[in-house]
Symmetry: C2
Subunit: 148 residues, 2 copies
DNA sequence: TTTGATGCAAAGACTTTGCATGCTT
DNA sequence: AAGCATGCAAAGTCTTTGCATCAAA
């Protein structure tokens, strides 16, 4: 999902975001990993490329980007908030240690395909709400030899 | 889901938890609401019943109870962590303002029934992990007159 | 009795904010 | 040139921890 600088500028313009050096770094850094990093992890990664970037800017930028839907906060059960530049519907696998992985795309699709749109509409109607998205999160832990 | 004191003592014993007054209060308080409160909200509720209970104890107790599976942390996108004493598989609806509601039980069941066990097993096999649970979270916001 | 839980306050982790400066438009 | 973003540090929010005391087993 490596976004070119041109593509990033385009995305930012589409969402009325000023295109600053730091924001490009943050978005490119997030788009270039599958690790769903925390703000601080991302900050440490970016620090090599621009030693002046500040953690506050990383937080501010991630906020700005999630406000317009260019990145998403991924709900990990605990600890620091994690971020993902892949905003397509896909299944997250939360490991006990806090790491979050993507499910393989084909399996994500097959799992999500089972969710009934009819039921979602009924939820909307009965509760008088609008559904904007569904998160499916698989809670898992690495398998030991004993597990079956 | 109102748990009697006897039932609570039984549950605690089953999980090798000391049955203290405070823990009973916390569990009963959580089991008696559908509001998925934060630790602080729960603390404020319980404070009326026992003005001596401390926020730290509420946190410690909620940790102890989730460690043995008697309560669950519910992933709300942001802000303070929320808790639920209903540990059955059910769908959570996260509203934009941070509140979390349960989906009506019949709709929860119908939605979850669509999730393919075969796909879950394939996730386990392919990634070499053990799946312990699935969270399905519906992101929604209250409907305004304009929405359609 | 022994062991673990409580309450308090302090420390810690994570995130946001105020403000002067600098960069994007 | 105007206005928003940045960097820094301070403040804020949420959670955990150390320790003396107390209660459950």
């Amino acid at each position: 999902m490596n976004a070119t600088p041109e593509r990033i500028r385009e995305l930012f313009h589409q969402h009325d975001l000023r295109c600053t050096h730091q924001r490009e770094l943050v978005f490119a850094g997030l788009a270039g990993t599958k690790a769903h990093p925390t703000a601080e992890e991302l900050y440490l990664n970016l620090h090599g490329q621009d030693p002046n970037i500040s953690l506050a800017t990383v937080y501010n930028t991630l906020d700005a980007l999630s406000a317009v839907g260019l990145v998403r906060k991924v709900p990990g059960a605990s600890g620091a908030c994690r971020y993902d530049a892949d905003t397509s519907q896909h299944v997250h696998i939360s490991m006990g240690d806090g790491r979050v992985m993507d499910a393989p795309q084909d399996l994500s699709e097959r799992l999500l395909a089972g969710l009934s749109l009819a039921v979602l509409h009924e939820i909307e109607d009965r509760l008088g709400i609008s559904v904007s998205r569904i998160n499916v999160q698989v809670i898992a832990h690495s398998r030991t030899l004993k597990d079956g």
